[in-house]
């Protein structure tokens, strides 16, 4: 091969790199490990993390421990899905393309909107992209973040907007855990109002008045969803007047993996389609008239439009959207609703028990889905530590996020938390410890 290439030594392949620019020593990396050694090391590291196998997980806050049927990983780990790339060549990518088309369809149905993209990195960046999209559509520059948006998502929106001619106005939450009213902050310069549903602290927000107020001022309503499973019960935001629905679909069959890869989604009204960020798959026909799918409306995208693209996104979360599509196919409408009801019932049970337990109280008595804030009579850190020793991840310490609540925890109950385990949590939180 070297002869065919016309060099004598492999080093000469790199002659175009100036000699003084080359590395004159081996990289300083640990010695290579065989697979057997590698897994010994990996298992050591993995054993030092809490997981739903070692600890019952009452921790949510944007990443949810749900049961994932075996079929999801069995299908998604098929080499043809796993080791292919962006379907630029549709004739040999129909598997990926059709799955994306199915995902787009499902997200439209679930959100009550008309067009969906293929995916974005996560719920936080999807929200930032939704805000940028609203700014382009309205040519306005003020963004209202209603109270109750996940604090990390707020941070990401702010990060994305720095350097741009845009202003972010952040509202707080009322005593009911919902956003303070948006009306007085709306005027002809507001591009969009972003409302998270349910709110970060759990309460289900009342979207209809926000939608009406936004519409009155020509602002778009962006509804952000951190727990996608809630859409199994809650009215589709599109039906309630949302113009863009974005969020995190990790709950649909995607492992926690310490926060990623997860799955951002974004759906919108049809008339906004040319301002959507990211990949889109459309239906077409082949040269013989048979139905097939292709990437489409690419003139929005960076590889064609460069600095005038609607987003810089290229690689997105293809395999994750495949997993979510498989998951939703298994559940179907009945399964999704039943699972959502299951989560709701567990939260209701936990809340009823907590309300009756001395030393601990519900911060917001109003309706929630599967997550809620609990005020405690001792420091959350102490509860979390004690919980960990008893095999419970008892929730999220709200001190950094909502210090005004005093000592409080955000608790989430999914189908993985049995009644017995919820009882143990309540015992831990309250005074009547065993």
């Amino acid at each position: 091969m070297l002869a065919a290439v016309g060099v004598e030594e492999i080093e000469h392949l790199f002659d175009s790199i100036p000699a003084d620019a080359r590395l004159s020593r081996p990289l300083d990396l640990p010695r290579p490990l065989s697979e057997q050694e590698l897994f010994a090391r990996l298992r050591e590291l993995a054993a030092r993390n809490a997981t739903p196998e070692s600890h019952t997980c009452f921790l949510g806050a944007g990443a949810y421990a749900h049961f994932v049927p075996s079929v999801v990983s069995a299908l998604a780990s098929r080499a043809e899905f796993l080791t292919s790339y962006t379907p630029y060549q549709p004739e040999i990518s129909q598997g990926t393309l059709q799955a994306i088309f199915e995902w787009q369809t499902m997200i439209c149905g679930i959100t009550g909107l008309e067009v969906s993209n293929a995916s974005l990195y996560d719920g936080a960046s999807a929200t930032a992209e939704a805000v940028l999209m609203a700014i382009r559509l309205t040519r306005r520059h003020r963004v209202l973040l209603a109270g109750g948006l996940h604090p990390h998502w707020r941070d990401v929106v702010r990060t994305y907007l720095q350097g741009l001619d845009a202003e972010v106005v952040e509202l707080g939450v009322g005593t009911d855990g919902r956003s303070e009213p948006v009306d007085s902050h709306l005027d002809g310069e507001v591009a969009c109002v972003v409302v998270q549903q349910p709110a970060f602290l759990g309460p289900v927000q009342d979207l209809a008045p926000v939608a009406a107020a936004a519409r009155e001022h020509g602002a778009l309503l962006v509804v952000a969803v951190a727990e996608a499973l809630s859409l199994g019960l809650l009215r589709a935001p599109g039906e309630l007047g949302a113009d863009i629905v974005c969020g995190e679909a990790q709950s649909f069959g995607i492992p926690l993996s310490f926060g990623g890869p997860h799955l951002g989604f974004l759906a919108a009204r049809r008339r906004f389609v040319r301002q959507l960020p990211g990949r889109l798959v459309g239906e077409t026909v082949d040269a013989r008239g048979r139905r097939g799918y292709v990437l489409t409306l690419s003139t929005r995208e960076q590889h064609i439009r460069r600095e005038r693209a609607t987003s810089n996104i290229c690689t997105n979360q293809g395999l994750c959207l495949l997993m979510a599509t498989i998951y939703l196919s298994l559940l179907g409408p009945h399964g999704l609703r039943t699972l959502a009801r299951d989560n709701l019932a567990r939260a209701h049970y936990a809340r009823t028990r907590i309300a009756a337990t001395p030393g601990v109280e519900l911060v917001h008595p109003g309706p929630v889905f599967n997550e809620f804030a609990v005020r405690t009579d001792r420091p959350p850190a102490e509860i979390l530590e004690e919980g960990a020793s008893r095999g419970l991840l008892a929730g999220l310490d709200l001190e950094p996020h909502a210090p005004e609540l005093g000592p409080a925890l955000l608790v989430c109950t999914t189908e993985l938390a049995s009644r017995k385990e919820i009882d143990r949590l309540v015992n831990l939180l309250g005074k009547n410890r065993p």
Binding site: T83, I92, M106, S125, F258, A340
Partner: protein, 508 residues
């Protein structure tokens, strides 16, 4: 003599399972999922949440059985080309083999089940792995600090550009122009523009390289940065990288390195040593994490110390001295550009990349670069003369050809690409970089054997021969796939972006 796909290339016989959209398989009442019995009291959602807040139906989800789902997606999978099926020479994408052990690593319950908001004391294993990966990437790139947070290369670019903005702002300078060569990936200008920069395109020289005088002429007090890809998208090493970096630095600007082509440099040269101030890594290219049909990737960003104060938060930090032992997530970066990800980035991809680096070690990584470069040069040597080589010179990990020598046959780059499918290959990247008309960009990676490269070269040569002897056949390609060429114009003109029961969709 015809050398059709029957004789040359990857033997394919075509698989032709038909499979409708899953929605069209839906039958009322069919299920693929069961919950355990509810062990807490049932609730009425309407009573708890209010009827107004509750939905009546969930449209557009199919009602199918588990077998339906398994067959559906298994059949769909057979319509994809993939690295595990054969050479996938998509230039600039580094479609190397994705070791299966890495999949098993990321799937270990202690990783896959780790909650991102669990206390650091209950996340020590994954935090240590992340800290180690940061260190390895810093060593490989010659940079001082790394943040693993960006979820893909383009987000890494955005992070880098934002850090550059923060750096200038902190020094009280307002610079609003970014220089980008005409051969750059589209994400470069898109990322710069997304952060509010004006983009100025720089012309490559006749040798395909960026020249110091071009950069010098474009420099000015308003230039924040130069974004450069090295090796560039023509597969050429930017020989003048050091003087170019010096010009930019002297003018008060910084140099962003697009790490998409890092595979060529592993253990050979380090971007940080060449003068790059900030770069992203594509874990899904260089470090073998699977491409997944379009992600998830991971785009860690590495910086020189001057940019470290601006890294996205949180940063993984190893405790030292009085703090005790272990790892924490550090938010104490007052000048940070902020957070880019809901949590800590695509950690599942980090685990795979860590496993890859630990399996190969220093020598193995260098061997990757050597074999990747050898393979690209070997293919070029086999195809030169039959395909036009727009820029001569030693290539690195990929080579760019064009269809110029096929002029007069009526066969274009697109036709060559589609005909290669009939020979059992995923086509190279085509019509990119934009500086080459009818570009065919081939990146074989280190994963291919000599015989594998020869078979691919034979297929490329056979297609060129067909272009002369039987151009219609090439232009009709692909003919051995389930579907023939798809009408992309129609898809864009009348976008049908979801299935609708009474919509324009018809069963095939």
């Amino acid at each position: 003599m015809s050398r059709g796909p029957e004789k040359v290339g990857n033997t394919t016989r075509g698989i032709a399972y038909e499979e409708p959209l899953l929605f069209e398989r839906s039958r009322p009442g069919r299920r693929g999922f069961a919950l355990p019995p509810l062990d807490v009291p049932e609730v009425e959602p309407e009573a708890l949440l209010g009827a107004e807040a509750c939905r009546e139906t969930i449209p557009d989800l199919p009602e199918v059985s588990e077998v339906d789902v398994v067959r559906h997606f298994t059949r769909l999978s057979t319509w994809n080309a993939a690295v595990d099926l054969g050479l996938y020479p998509l230039g600039s994408c580094t479609m190397k083999y994705n070791p299966r052990q890495n999949e098993a690593a990321a799937a270990l319950p202690g990783f896959a089940g780790a909650h991102p908001l669990a206390p650091a004391s209950l996340s020590q294993g994954i935090l240590q792995l992340m800290a180690e990966l940061e260190r390895h990437l810093a060593e490989i790139s010659g940079l001082d600090r790394v943040s693993l947070q960006p979820a893909a290369g383009a987000q890494g670019e955005l992070a880098g550009i934002m850090m550059i903005r923060a750096y200038h702002r902190h020094r009280g300078e307002s610079r609003d122009r970014v220089l980008i060569p005409d051969s750059a990936h589209g994400t470069n200008p898109a990322s710069a523009a997304l952060n509010g920069y004006r983009v100025q395109t720089l012309e490559s020289g006749p040798d395909g390289l960026l020249h110091p005088e071009t950069v010098a002429a474009a420099m000015g007090p308003d230039v924040a940065a130069l974004m450069i890809t090295n090796p560039n998208t023509l597969g050429l090493f930017e020989t003048h990288i050091e003087p170019i970096c010096e010009i930019v630095h002297t003018g008060g600007g910084l140099v962003y390195g697009d790490g998409a082509n890092l595979n060529a440099l592993l253990g050979i040269a380090r971007p940080g040593d060449l003068g790059i101030d900030v770069m992203h890594f594509n874990l899904h290219k260089t470090f073998s994490t699977p491409h997944g049909g379009g992600g998830p990737g991971a785009g860690p960003v590495g910086v020189k110390n001057i940019l470290a104060p601006y890294l996205p938060v949180p940063v993984v930090r190893e405790l030292a001295g009085d703090e005790g032992e272990g790892f924490v997530l550090d938010y104490d970066f007052p000048h940070s550009i902020g957070r880019l990800h809901a949590h800590h980035g695509n950690v599942g991809m980090m685990i795979r990349a860590w496993a890859y680096i630990r399996s190969l070690g220093a020598e193995g990584l260098r061997r990757c670069a050597e074999m990747a470069v050898l393979n690209a040069n070997y293919l070029l040597s086999r195809l030169r003369g039959t395909y036009h080589v727009p820029y001569e010179g030693r290539v690195m990990h990929e080579c760019v050809l064009s269809d110029r020598l096929l002029q007069g046959t009526g066969v274009t780059t697109l036709d060559v690409a589609k005909r290669l499918i009939d020979y059992g290959y995923h086509p190279p990247t085509i019509y990119f970089p934009l500086v080459v008309q009818g570009a065919i960009m081939i990146e074989p990676t280190e994963s291919e054997s000599l015989e594998g490269l020869d078979r691919f070269a034979e297929a490329m040569l056979a297609v060129a021969e067909e272009a002369r002897t039987d151009p219609e056949r090439v232009r009709a390609a692909p003919t051995r796939t389930r579907l023939a060429r798809l009408d992309e114009t129609r898809a864009a003109r009348r976008p049908v972006l979801r299935w609708q029961p009474a919509g324009p969709s018809k069963r095939p």
